[in-house]
Amino acid sequence: MTTATSDAAPRQKLRDDDPEANLRLNPVKVAIGILGMVVIAWALGNMFLAFGYYPEKFGSKLVIGVLAVIGGVGGAAALFYFLNMFVEGLPRRLSEGFIPYAFVLPGLALVTLMLIYPTFQTVNYSFANSDSTAYIGFANYRTIFADNAFWTSIGNNVLWLLIVPAIVVALGVVVAVLADKLSATGEKVAKSLIFLPMAISFVGASAIWGLIYAYNNPGQSQTGLLNAIVVGLGGQPQTWLAISTAKLNSILLMVILIWLQVGFGMVLLSSAIKGVPEDTIEAARIDGASELQIFWKVIVPQIRGTVITVFVTVFILVLKVFDIVYVTTNGSYGSDVIANLFFNKLFAASEAGQATAIVVVLLVAVIPLIWFQIKHFKDEEAG
């Protein structure tokens, strides 16, 4: 109601000047708008082509970078300015309905170009041969389903999914609860230290942990921290990442991801735990609950939303896990995962058809999860 009335006032004013000014088509505005958009698009297109084809003309890469930022941001602004002029030039009834779409359209077009089109193309290629020149039906799927490496990867991925998100959430909660009990400074220091690995890239972290798991022959001094400890305690050095018994190597790789992600879980869960009203905890204490009961029956239900958010976010991250396996074992010793298998099929074996088929399987597997996440977010919004 209030917005309607406040909107009505300026409109009334416009009509005072020229009662029908914005009801009719304004050809000048429409023309300038279209012309402006075309010119901007043309200019931007040429600019970026020039960056690509004649980089030497610009002197240094820095100049290109600065120009690209100015041209990109300014160009987008100018494009929207002319788009707006064009829409405003349209008859009133048309422009009012059209405005939201006009502004969403460029973004939507980019999403389509960068996400939706590749998705369909990938599905398309999964039915084609190794260099995507001819369709071969379901042959790729038959090949990968008959391949042991594929099932090992699927099995490993499932194991990663079962272990990593759960442990990240559990450790995140434990760290958050314990940090909460420290002094203010202690909490800051502890949280910073635990959060720090978040800033390390997957490749960097894998290299670091590669050193921890490193193996030297018995008798030599051990580079690897783990083997150094084992030898120090009188044991034999082990080739840790080659031990597939009980999936030990996969689990050791998971440790890397857990180390990277616990900080993320901790930060979110810690703020959620701090958001639990203190008096509900006191009420539970008076109601006779033990500290453990308070944790499970009062705190956890109140941070359930955050737990799910952290879990699903890490879950999706784990589905995409690639770098860690690629850097450490590159999938050998039965530690392969789907993303790494895909990479090797595509770039090492040049099997584009099988590679795309593998990711299509992954895509199909992820859909229910994304659906669940969207539904959860909607429930959170509504609730």
């Binding site: 009420a283 204490r285 008076i286 109601d287 006779g288 609950a289 009961q293």
Partner: protein
């Protein structure tokens, strides 16, 4: 049901030089409704939380019945508490909220349901048992918090400003409901409020605290008629009691040239000056020009009565010749013939209704 005893109970927060609750001594009888009242920071909530077990007791003891609970955890004290913000568990239904303590105690499900339903009936909550707290109004949430306490049939109810989040009308209604409910259940209750009207209307006895020290603990009537010190005199009663410095003369106290008769024995212990207190309703207009001259600033007409807010410029400390500044003065007069704004009236205290306090210690002198 049980008595509650604070025996020199003291709470001092680390890093704080003075105790927040200092040697509190109160004996609360079985079934009594005791109200802690005082300005914010006086230690009333801390005292309650010490009794609940949410706050450590640094010195002294707290007993429930004959049991020393000083070092027991809250769950072993058999007390139920109603919090200011109700502290309902947001993820549980009303029924689950009320039955939580019983569930923790391992009471059988049917029994829990029965007791929850009984409490819900008493509190008019039966239609809401399956709702979550956020789907309830403020008043309903307050009743759920009450219900959670009732269901447990504890030895002591603790209530920490349970009405302060309700609107004025509901607060008055609920005030009566809580008081009558407490009489009916007969459970010893300790209630904290900053509102002295609440304290006076609800409590069997009222304990006034200031800076962690118990000022007085008495029945509302006694508290009103016999404030033990200047603080209680000024805190209890609305509008507040008029308090002013006055000099001791022969046979009484000189107040602006008017001698207020006070027993000679009582004045023996006082020095040259005392603090005199008169309640607004204990003043009457004098016709002969004697008494305290008061310039009327504001007249509040309440129908039956009218309150006069004025000030007096009188030389209050005649003995030293010191002149006090303008002293605010409140008096209740007949609502049908209130004086005009701006006029000067003369007011005399009714005899026997003057409170005399030691000017230095603030303690009451005489009866």
């Amino acid at each position: 049901m049980a008595t509650v005893t604070f025996d020199n109970a003291t709470r001092q927060y680390p890093g704080n030089p003075v105790p927040s609750v200092d040697k509190l001594n109160i004996e609360i009888e079985d079934g009594e409704f005791l109200v802690f009242v005082g300005p914010s920071g006086c230690g009333k909530s801390t005292s309650l939380r010490m009794l609940a077990g949410l706050e450590e007791v640094n010195a002294g003891r707290i007993l429930i019945g004959d049991r020393d609970v000083t070092n027991l955890s809250p769950k072993d004290r058999d007390v139920a508490m109603v919090f200011q913000n109700y502290a309902l568990y947001p993820h549980m239904t009303v029924a689950d909220n009320m039955g939580f303590a019983l569930k923790i105690a391992g009471v059988d499900k049917g029994e829990i349901r029965k007791r929850v339903e009984e409490a819900a009936k008493i509190l008019d909550l039966s239609p809401y048992l399956d709702r979550k707290p956020k789907a309830l109004s403020g008043g309903q949430r307050q009743r759920v918090a009450m219900g959670r306490a009732i269901v447990r049939s504890p030895q002591v109810f603790l209530m920490d400003e349970p009405l302060s989040n309700l609107d004025a009308k509901l607060r008055v209604q609920t005030r009566t409901q809580i008081a009558s409910l407490q009489r009916r259940l007969g459970v010893t209750t300790v209630y904290v409020t900053h509102d002295q009207v609440e304290a006076m209307t609800m409590g069997d006895r009222v304990a006034v605290l200031k800076d962690g020290i118990l000022m007085q603990c008495d029945s509302p009537r006694r508290m009103y008629d016999h404030p033990q010190n200047v603080f209680v005199a000024g805190f209890i009663g609305s509008p507040a009691m008029n308090l002013m410095e006055a000099s001791v003369t022969d046979g009484g106290v000189n107040l602006g040239g008017h001698t207020v008769p006070v027993e000679r024995d009582a004045l023996k212990s006082a020095g040259k000056n005392v603090t005199l207190g008169v309640r607004p309703e204990d003043l009457e207009l004098s016709d002969d020009g004697s008494g305290i001259p008061v310039t009327v600033d504001v007249v509040e007409e309440l129908g039956a009565d009218a309150y006069i807010y004025g000030s007096t410029e009188q030389k209050l400390l005649a003995s030293t010749g010191e002149t006090g500044g303008p002293v605010p003065f409140i008096a209740r007069v007949d609502g049908r013939r209130p004086p005009e704004k701006g006029t000067v009236i003369h007011l005399k205290p009714k005899s026997g209704h003057v409170h005399v306090f030691n000017a230095d210690s603030g303690e009451r002198i005489g009866d």
